[in-house]
Structure formats: C-alpha cells, structure tokens
Amino acid sequence: MQGFVPTATDGNMATEFHNLQELRHSASLANKIFIQRDYSEGTTCKFQTKFPSELESRIEWTLFEDTVKTLNNYYAEAEKIGGQSYLEGCLACATAYLIFLCMETRYEKVLKKIAKYIQEQNEKIYAPRGLLITDPIERGMRVIEICIYEDRGSSGSSSGSSSVSGSTAR
C-alpha cells in the first residue's frame, strides 16, 4: 500500500534530504506567489520577469530572472513560426494528421525539455531555499506558481500540528 517510490535523481536527492532533515521536521507551506503572463508581445507565451517582493529574502534576483528568461526562451522556441514548423504542419496535413500517432509535435518536445529544466532548477536552486516552482502547463500556462515553504524551527512541529487539532476540538 506504499504509494511512494522515490524517482531516482542521483545525488541531488541526498542533498535535498539532508537540507530538509536539517529543518528537523516537515516544512510548511507558507505562501504561494504567481508570476503572471506578459502579453506585451501578443499572444505568445511569455512570463513577466518582474521580481516579486516576497522572494527578496529568499533568492537572488539574478537566479530568478535567469530561470524565467530561460523558460520564456523555451516557449518562444516552441511557438516559433519558421521553416521547421511549416514543414511539420504541411507533412501533418498531407498524412491527415496520422503522423502524430507515431511522432511528437515540436511543441510537445519542447514542453518535455521545459519540464526537465524546471525539475532540475527545483532540485539545484529552489528546493534548497525552501521554494518550489510548478510547471506552468499544470496551471494552464497562465502563471508560474512558486510555493514558499517556511522553516518553522526545531521545536515548532508539535505546537504547529496541535494548533490545527486544538482549533477543531470544540
């Protein structure tokens, strides 16, 4: 009945575990912030690079901007209208779109790259700082959701959970 099987991600898991274990109890979700879309260039997928104030104490501005800019570049690559996309479109039309039964569209390939990139960023940069980025595709490409976890301190765990149970014991 154990549903949890850790996906193997080499040594990073150990580092993350070590970081979390240092907190001596489970992290608590303190806040979620949302990076909205930037529509100044039309309907192409692009996110705002404005640095949210809630992250000021958590992460350097350059790291954050780097992540968002890389994501924007990936999306621009996926939606690029050029020779390759025309070729793919015409080929698909000629085969009555049956070709997509065996082949992935370029967009899907780029989305997989993005997913991998986000996972890598989470492991290396964001999780050690108590942050977690959610892939925008899971939010309908509307926002980049960043969860902020709070370190409640070594003695905080029992008081934290008892406050939850205490409020219902009426």
């Binding site: 979390l20 489970s26 939606e79 991998k116 989470n122």
Partner: protein, 431 residues
C-alpha cells in the same frame, strides 16, 4: 462532540482499508476508490466521450444533421451518378470524389472532437491572489465592484484584458468565454453548432480545411450531377433524366458554404477572428490609428501561421487522473474541517523521520512534470480537485505515515468530487 465521534469512526475505517482484505462493509468504498479521470469533474458544460478522448459541446443535434446531410448527399452521388459518369467519362471522377469526401469527413471529425483551446479555470489560490491584487489596485472597499479590466500594450495597440468571473482569470488577448460551453477559449473564433464545438486556437485550421474541402465537394457533386442530367437528357429526354438521377444538392447550400469559405479566407489572411471582425475591433472605422496588432504584415505569413503554425497541446489534460495532491494555503477564516483534524491526529502517530521522508517525496512528486505521467504517483496529502473545490486549505504539510496515507485521501476526495458533481448538476439545472 458529534464531530469527534464521526472522526474516530473515520479513523477506524481508514485503518481497516489499509491493512485487511475486503469486508462487506468496505465494498462500497472499494468501488469508489477507483481513480477518476479529470474529464469527469470538468467544470464546464462540455461533453466527453470515449473516456475523455472526444470533447464536444452540449448540443450535438445539429452536428448529427451535418453528418447525415454530408453522408446522404455523397452516398446518393456515389450510388446514382458515379457509375454512369465513370463509364461515360472517366473513373477519375469517383476517385477524386471519394478522396474529397474522406477529407471532408476527417476534418469535420477532427474539428468536432478536439479541444478548441479551452483555458482551465484558476485554482483557488490563484483566484485568491488575483482578488488580493485587484483590491490593492483599487484601494477602496466600496460596495460596487469596479469593472475588472487590465490594459496591455501589444505592438503599439492598447488592448483591454477582461476578467472572467466564471473562470476567475484575466482572459488572455483574443480569448473569449463561450456561454454555450461555459469555458474560456483561446483565440476564440465562434461557436459552431454545425460542428458541435467551439472553434478556437487548436481546431481553427481543421475547421477552415473542413469548410474549404466541403465547398470543393459540393461544387464537385453539383457540377457532375448537372453533367449527368445533361448527358442523360441527350438520350432519354430531360424529365427521364431527372427521374434517374436525383438532384440532391441544393443550390443555396453550395453558395452559403462557398461564401463562408471566402469569409474565413479573408479572416485568415488578415489574422482576425470572427469575434473580432463582428465587433469591428480592428476596423479603421474606430479610429485612424486602429490596426490589428496580431497581423504579421503580409498575407502569406498570416495564412501560414494560421494553417501551418505549431499546434499547441491541450491545456486541460482530460485523461489525466485526479491527483488529490494540491497543497493549498490556509484560508484566513475559520475554515478548518474535520479532515484537517483527522490528518493532524494521524500525524501524531508517525515518526518525525517519516514525516521528513514523506515531505521529500512530496517535493519530489510535486516536481514530477505532468507529461511524465507514467512515473507520477498519487500523492495523497490533502484533497482538493483541480477545479477548485470549496475545501479549505491545510495549514501544514504534516502527513500520515505511508501505511495510512492511501486511505486518508480517498473518502475526502470522494466528498469533494461529490461536491463538485452536485455543483455541476445545480449549474446544469439552472441553465
């Protein structure tokens, strides 16, 4: 007190499910623990078939009519006219007719069955965040809610983004909310009853190819039916010819479809949607400086980008399984229910180490992308379905140990799904 009793009852049920084989009491629960797909709790009014593979509007009667008309007309043509024409003229006629017919059917089905580009509704946290931002921006606590619009400058044109109260998002430019399907659709063109679906970003090219090929097909059939009649009347006389070859295709339907194809060709070449054209959003009548900011400048690029551009994937993930794993923030009010209490009570039972381990797994699983679904596991933590059930958030991530984690989620998730389905039913009945 009453709450406490039911809580303890729930606890017993959880442990029974986890450790023992099925007993008569838990059979109803066992059935409900089968995973549900996301389309089953989709908040809009779209209908799904084939386990979420096919998505259509609620009213599909006119679509059936379209299918019948096309099939009957083509059927009659192939049965009555083609044998004569193949013999008299060339066998290429039924072959070309057949290819056109198959192409028409293929594009029609593709337009009708695919997701037009529906935008999923905002999660409760997103909606709350937006509300907060709007309140801050307005700065007033007036009773009359101000109109919620955002202005954005796209390629030099000021475009207003409207807030959708149903989906709780600011609609991207060119998106619109379809009242028939109750969804926001990206690059919304129009809702076509003939096709039984909205026409939006993801299926516009199929729609265009459908009407284009249908106009070719109708002209083709009309022309060759006339040819057939003329050829026969040379032999048997006009009235006899009419008797042998039923003239099925109505003159007016040919012209209406050809007219529609012409209209959409114009729209594609100027990169506009039907919605924008009808409203006159980019017409020069509105102002001298009014121009279409989305147009690429020349007709060729506009056409290519509309027809051969990249096809974005569906954003709503109809066939994914509902994972009750979304970590919700605690609401500012007294929203703590017995689920939270049960959870925290069970958390006392588990080790500190197990909690940490589980948290790590949660973070791991939460970063597991949607596309790699074969590796994702249901992270049973709290229960809140994607479409924003009204369950309050949890303040902490404290988990039950693995032995009780699986059953913890399910009764609660059933209730939340039940809540959603009730809400859905209420919505449908109120239409």
């Amino acid at each position: 007190m009453h709450l406490g009793v039911s809580e303890s009852m729930r606890e017993c049920e959880y442990s029974q499910i986890s450790t023992r084989s099925s007993t008569p009491m838990e059979t109803p629960y066992k059935k409900r623990t089968s995973r549900k797909r996301k389309w089953e709790s989709f908040p809009g009014r779209s209908k799904f078939y084939c386990d979420g593979r096919i998505m259509m509007a609620r009213q599909t009667g006119v679509f059936c009519l379209t299918l019948v008309l096309i099939l009957v007309t083509s059927g009659l043509f192939f049965t009555f006219d083609c044998p004569f024409l193949a013999l008299q003229l060339t066998t290429a006629i039924p072959v070309i007719g057949g290819v056109l017919f198959l192409f028409v059917l293929g594009t029609l089905l593709r337009t009708s069955f695919s997701d037009p580009g529906v935008l999923p509704r905002a999660t409760p946290d997103e909606a709350a965040d937006l509300e907060r931002q709007i309140d801050v921006a307005n700065g007033s606590t007036g009773y009359r809610p101000p109109p919620r619009t955002k202005e954005v400058v796209i390629n030099g044109q000021t475009v207003k983004l409207k807030y959708c109260f149903t989906c709780k998002i600011f609609r991207p430019p060119r998106a619109s909310h379809c009242s028939l399907c109750d969804n926001c659709v990206e690059r919304f063109d129009h809702h076509c009853p003939w096709v039984g679906n909205c026409v939006g970003r993801r299926n516009y090219r199929f729609f265009y190819m459908f009407i284009l090929s249908l106009s070719f097909l109708t002209i083709f059939i009309f022309a060759f039916v006339i040819t057939h009649i003329i050829l026969r009347s040379h032999r048997n006389g006009f009235l006899n010819a009419l008797k042998d070859s039923p003239v099925v295709v109505c003159f007016f339907s040919v012209w209406s479809i050809v007219g529609l194809s012409g209209f959409h060709t114009y729209l594609i070449s100027s990169n506009q949607t039907t919605n924008e054209d009808i409203k006159g959003s980019w017409s020069s009548k509105r102002g001298k400086d009014n121009y279409n900011p989305y147009s690429h400048g020349n007709i060729f690029t506009n056409c290519c980008s509309a027809l051969c551009g990249p096809l974005p994937p569906s954003l709503i993930d109809r066939r994914g399984f509902i994972q009750s794993d979304t970590l919700q923030l605690a609401p500012p009010t007294n929203g703590i229910t017995m689920y939270g209490a049960t959870q925290s009570q069970q958390s006392h039972m588990c080790d500190q180490d197990q909690c940490i381990q589980s948290t790590k797994f949660v973070l791991q699983a939460a970063t597991t992308p949607l596309l790699q679904q074969q590796t994702s596991e249901p992270v049973i933590l709290t229960t809140s379905p994607e479409n924003g059930g009204s369950l309050p958030g949890r303040t902490s991530l404290t988990l039950a140990g693995p032995c009780t984690s699986l059953p913890l989620g399910h009764p609660a998730s059933q209730d939340s799904l039940h809540e959603d389905s009730v809400r859905g039913l209420v919505k449908l009945s109120s239409v």
